[in-house]
């Protein structure tokens, strides 16, 4: 069994074969290897290319940007996704702009990796799912690891196949998930779709032999795994057949507000959409999904809904946190209401 964490670590080790790859982050030296251990082993194998840094997130992002400008392929580890707020200016006003604002001759191939998410009781400043801040930033690709395909390979491709910046979203609970094997997925028929000019595949999961879907679920990252569990239970316990669409690329989406083809295909069958995310509700990823769906199916969707955390800080207390963050039961309840 390979966990998502192991896969990411392997992906980094594979990437480090190329001497242009450098890693910058806080507490990334061995034996610690980063707060969530994703970077373990790198500083031992490549001491001169692993930069353990002061607690200076903005500076870190900027230094990596400079390295990227000069031909390296830096990877930045932000210890908690909550601190991505500190690199907002570097990301928005420098890193993602340089590719266009200088007339097209400048490239900033860097990857910022960071874990988002709660369910560990870390409280309001260490549990957030903040990628929504970056999904509408022009010039920035945002990818979210999932356990349906190798996130280490996705990370490796982000490092090498992209001449622009990539914000790579991980999730604390996803780390511990096993990469799903064909055996794990034997109940599913899986369709892969890669959007134009992307390298990250969208997975559409339907249960083998299921009748036409009554509902399309869409989710990414760790929520995709919860949605998959809900999908199974909806089928087996409630005879509600859903399709689940799991994108790995959250941004950019197609220009002109066009809906992702995999989602469009599923919706044209189900006519019902539920977008599920762990981040807070308003202007989350689901807002863009629903907006595009509304544009793509004028008058045609029977119902559309979002499941997300409420618009409030994430409490530290376990029962409060559990109530705040959407889980399998919430998906079941919402889906049942929708069909």
């Amino acid at each position: 069994m390979t966990s998502v964490l192991q896969a990411l670590n392997r992906g980094l080790h594979a990437a480090f074969q190329d001497p242009r790859v450098h890693l910058l982050g806080e507490d990334v030296l061995d034996p610690y290897g980063g707060a969530f251990k994703v970077s373990q082993g790198l500083s031992t194998a490549y001491p001169e290319r692993v930069w353990t840094s002061p607690v200076s997130e903005a500076g870190l992002a900027g230094v990596a940007a400079g390295m990227a400008l000069r031909g390296l392929r830096p990877v930045v580890e932000i210890m908690f996704g909550d601190f991505s707020t500190l690199i907002a200016d570097q990301i928005i006003n420098s890193i993602s702009k340089f590719g266009s604002m200088y007339g097209g001759a400048v490239h900033v191939p860097l990857v910022v990796r960071t874990p988002m998410g709660g369910r560990r009781g870390y409280g309001p400043t260490h549990s957030q799912t903040l990628e929504k801040l970056f999904l509408g930033v022009p010039g920035l690709r945002v990818l979210a690891a999932n356990s349906l395909s190798d996130p280490g390979e996705l990370l490796r491709r982000a490092i090498f196949e992209d001449d622009g910046p990539v914000f790579f979203i991980e999730n604390k609970l996803l780390y511990l998930q096993p990469l799903l094997t064909t055996e794990d997925l034997q109940d599913f028929e899986i369709e892969l779709h890669t959007p134009p000019a992307a390298y990250a595949a969208t997975h559409t999961l339907r249960l083998r032999g299921a009748s036409a879907p009554a509902l399309t679920l869409t989710a990414y990252g760790y929520m995709a795994e919860l949605a998959r569990q809900a999908q199974l239970r909806l089928a087996f316990e409630h005879e509600i057949f859903c399709e689940l669409v799991v994108p790995a690329q959250l941004a950019p989406l197609a220009a002109g507000g066009e809906l992702d083809a995999a989602l469009a295909a599923s919706l044209s069958k189900s006519g019902r959409l539920l977008a599920i995310e762990e981040g807070s509700y308003t202007l989350g990823w689901g807002a863009e999904v629903l907006a595009r769906a509304a544009q793509a199916f004028p008058g045609g969707l029977k119902t559309a809904a979002r499941l997300a955390a409420p618009d409030a800080p994430i409490p530290a207390s376990r029962p409060l946190e559990e109530a705040a963050l959407p889980d399998v039961e919430d998906i079941l309840a919402t889906a049942q209401r929708m069909v």
Partner: protein, 300 residues
């Protein structure tokens, strides 16, 4: 001459912190707490020595390693245990957890450096209102990596904010030794922004008490920012079990730099034993109460 510090009182305060933190570290693996924690063991003399000078109107900003500050500030042990357990009776009703405390004029937050300008702002507000209150900001050596800290030093200095920056330099940030994270000199950094800085390498609470006394006196006499750098040692892991330092070296440090062991000889043996017994009972009772306390009711 200022009165002699209350040695028994300081010992009690430090021992309360010690027992609290030991209880936390002990109970964490049993699943009684939830989330994370950063214990203050080894640094008790800083909180006790500095906060002894605080007036009721003064303001404290603390960081992730806030239990010791909170306790020395006068915070309730049961409420702190309860907060760490996520109980409704916690300092913040379970919303904040270990790193996010507020009670009276005490505030902590888990984002390093983010409290610096906020502390300066509170100091300026009190000054603008004509209040004699001063603000105090605890920072670790690691937090000195954050740019916001320097913006804050500059503004505090320009605007004469009555704020004391207390750097607890335990020579490590999570797992990163200070040599890998801090170039130049800490005191020089404050001085470069026109802020006087006193530096003290000690785990002796009496020395720290004296040093802090001078800072508070100066701060109240001529409002304007000041800095106190306390070289210290973190005895335990960064949070739970994540200590990458050499165990032998740490053992010798624990031997030499224990604030409790340093003060203990100054107290009569019987007095100390009685005091410790009292504190043990106090902490145990607080823990038991917190354990029995209800969880907050989650709205559906």
């Amino acid at each position: 001459m200022p009165p002699m510090p209350d040695q028994a009182g300081l010992y009690r305060q430090m021992y309360r912190i010690r027992r609290f933190e030991e209880t936390v570290l002990d109970a964490f693996p049993k699943g009684l707490f939830y989330g994370t924690t950063h214990t203050y063991i080894g640094q008790e003399a800083n909180a006790a020595g500095v906060l002894a000078h605080l007036g009721a109107q003064d303001i404290v900003f603390s960081n992730h390693r806030c239990h010791g500050h909170f306790i020395a500030y006068g915070g309730d042990l049961r409420a702190l245990f309860a907060e760490l357990m996520g109980k409704a009776t916690g300092v913040c009703g379970g919303l904040g957890g270990s790193q996010h405390l507020h009670w009276r004029n005490f505030y902590s937050n888990g984002v390093l450096g983010s409290t610096a300008p906020i502390a300066v702002g509170t100091a300026l507000a009190e000054k603008a209102k004509g209040s004699p209150a001063v603000a105090l900001l605890f920072l670790g050596d690691g937090a000195l990596g954050e740019g916001t800290v320097y913006e804050s030093l500059n503004m505090a200095s320009l605007w004469g904010a009555p704020v004391l920056f207390v750097v607890e330099n335990n020579h490590i940030a999570q797992t990163t030794p200070i040599e890998l994270a801090l170039a130049g000199d800490i005191a020089a950094r404050f001085n470069a922004f026109g802020i006087p800085c006193q530096r003290l390498d000690s785990s002796d609470v009496l020395e720290i008490h004296t040093a802090a006394e001078a800072e508070f006196a100066a701060l109240r006499a001529a409002p304007g920012p000041r800095a106190l750098v306390l070289d210290t040692q973190r005895f335990g892991p960064h949070s739970k079990g994540d200590d990458t330092r050499d165990e032998a070296a740490m053992a010798s440090i624990r031997q030499q730099r224990d604030p409790l062991a340093l003060l203990a000889p100054k107290l009569a043996e019987a007095q100390r034993a009685a005091l410790e017994a009292e504190v043990q009972a106090e902490v145990a009772a607080a823990f038991a109460q917190a354990e029995a306390d209800p969880f907050p009711v989650a709205l559906p």
